[in-house]
């Protein structure tokens, strides 16, 4: 008879503790997850206003070449491709710079089995040409590259390949993106090796710990 109210209180107390505990566990383990995955129900007021532009940079509008004029006693100069090519007959049979006896001889080409005229337009050297013969402006080299490098082009268009700058939110500001040729020399397109910048300094701390036998990165990298 007597212990009854005590027992009820104890059971009630236990229930409260149990509820609190399970709520706590739920909050810790699932609530944040739900928050993270429930985005499909989130109402986003999307601003339909004008989006800022994305500018592709790095492709020349007028293609030029650095002409070595040393034989005529002049300094090297940038000249437009048509300067020479409008007065010369295209050598359609020549596939490589090594076969040339004048101009472009030193050019390194490591781009599969492509020949010069696979990309350059013999009818107008200020333009490029697609495999089907359609002329393409140098500014749109991406179109040319895309013919063979489909997956890379798809990733580029979807923003997961190629350096960029500016805004992630195009409603708030513009963006610039690099053309393919900013990073990949079309004649030898593999990304060049470079010396990494900014060696980590916490190595110094390790050096303190392990003594001078630990190599100092600053002494080699620059």
């Amino acid at each position: 008879m007597k212990p009854r109210p005590l027992l009820i209180a104890a059971i009630l107390g236990f229930a409260v503790v149990l509820c609190l505990a399970s709520w706590w566990i739920y909050q810790r383990s699932f609530a944040s997850f739900e928050e993270a995955v429930s985005h499909r129900q989130v109402q986003i007021a999307l601003d339909t206003g004008e989006a800022h532009p994305v500018t592709i940079q790095g492709a020349p509008t007028t293609p030029t070449v650095l002409a070595d004029l040393s034989q005529s006693g002049r300094a090297p100069t940038e000249v437009a491709c048509t300067t020479c090519h409008s007065t010369r007959t295209p050598q359609l049979a020549q596939r490589d710079s090594v076969q040339l006896d004048e101009f472009h001889q030193g050019l390194q080409k490591q781009h599969g089995t492509l020949s010069c005229l696979s990309c350059h337009n013999a009818d107008n050297y200020d333009t490029l040409r697609l495999a089907d013969g359609t002329p393409v402006a140098f500014e749109n080299t991406m179109q040319l590259c895309a013919q063979c490098h489909g997956p890379q082009f798809r990733d580029y268009t979807n923003g997961s390949h190629g350096g960029m700058n500016g805004y992630w939110d195009l409603k708030r500001g513009p963006r610039t993106r690099n053309a393919c040729n900013v990073c990949h020399d079309p004649h030898s397109p593999a990304y060049p090796q470079l010396i990494p910048v900014f060696p980590p300094k916490d190595v110094q701390l390790r050096k303190q710990k392990y003594g001078d036998s630990y190599p100092d990165p600053d002494q080699h990298a620059h």
Binding site: R28, S29, S32, F33, E35, A36, H39, V42, Q43, I44, A45, L46, P151, D155, Y156, N158, G159, S160, H161, G162, G163, M164, N165, G166, Y167, W168, D169, K171, R172, G173, R175, N178, C183, Y191, Q193, L194, I195, P196, V197, F198, P199, P200, K201, D202, V203, P217, H220, A221
Partner: protein, 306 residues
């Protein structure tokens, strides 16, 4: 100096809580005035400043002004410190394409500059690990690799704060100086942090950094656009971390590390926007997160090109 400051951090909180409750704020300020001689460069205002989440907008304005003046005084630099808020309908996500990262560390350098890190310590929130192709052994990833990159037998994995949905660092903080914001960023109130470094120990990604010394930065190198919760110059003895460049990204800009990346290995955007690039990556690439088994639920994803 370091020791005094560290211990003063804890006693400061205890003192504020204990004595502050029994005395009026003015009387309290007067009572502790002598203490300011040993807490040398800490003003009464700073000493009594409330937790970030309890500051009213007006109080916040005062704090920001004070911090701008302090930066002018300490570094000679004119800076603007703001407190950009999370945008509604935005949860930030970051993805990194391991197939095209070349390990150049330009991202780590950009982070160092953008976030006003101490020049001498060479601090950065990003560590780039070099690993042999065919393995994913993070524990043996090399951070101090040298020589031309990318090496043909290696791949590179930059690691920074993963802005977890279930962040262990937040759970362990005894004074709630770190928490998760609505847009997914794990923030630190540098003025509330007591420097106990529990969070640093709890982070499985080695993403937190401690300010052992007062940062030394030449005046002309200080990034003038600053955020209260992000890149303002941190006081000595507090914890800091990557904030996805909150002061830039909350205004729609891309983070500094992405802008510096020459290869475009980095993808940043709004996870809640189905049209965003980050969503395209999540839906079309095979992505993975680091240490998934820990249940931290990162907002930072990695992927390889197929």
């Amino acid at each position: 100096m370091t020791d005094v400051k560290k211990t003063s951090g804890i006693s400061r909180r205890t003192a504020v809580k204990g004595i502050g409750a029994t005395l009026g704020a003015a009387a309290f300020a007067k009572a502790i005035a002598p203490l300011t001689s040993w807490a040398a460069n800490q003003s009464i205002d700073e000493f009594l400043q409330k937790h970030y989440q309890e500051l009213t907008p007006a109080q916040m304005q005062k704090v920001l002004k004070r911090l701008e003046e302090d930066t002018k005084k300490d570094y000679g630099a004119e800076v603007t410190i703001t407190d950009p808020k999370p945008q509604p309908g935005v949860k930030f996500g970051y993805a990194l394409n391991l197939s095209i990262c070349v390990g150049c560390r330009k991202c780590a350098q950009a982070c160092h500059v953008e976030n006003n890190h101490d020049r001498k310590s060479g601090n950065s929130y990003i560590r780039v690990l070099e690993m042999k192709k065919g393995s994913l052994d993070i524990e043996h990833g090399k951070v101090d690799y040298k020589g031309p990159v990318p090496k043909s037998d290696s791949f590179y994995m930059p690691v920074q704060c993963q802005q977890c949905d279930n962040p262990p660092c937040v759970d362990v903080c005894p004074v709630e100086a770190t928490w998760k914001e609505k847009d997914g960023i794990v923030a630190v109130d540098y003025n509330w942090c007591i420097g106990c470094r529990y969070c640093e120990a709890a982070c499985p990604y080695h993403a937190r950094r401690f300010n052992w010394t007062k940062p030394e930065i030449p005046q002309e190198e200080i990034t003038p656009v600053q955020g209260y919760l992000s890149n303002r110059v941190r006081p000595q003895g507090v914890m800091e971390k990557c904030t996805f460049c909150m002061h830039k990204t909350r205004n729609g800009e891309l983070p500094a590390c992405l802008q510096a990346c020459p290869t475009g290995a980095r993808v940043f955007g709004n996870l809640l926007d189905p049209e965003s690039e980050i969503r395209w990556v999540l839906e079309n690439k095979r992505v993975f997160v680091l240490k998934e088994e820990l249940g931290t639920k990162p907002s930072f994803y990695y992927f390889f090109d197929e």
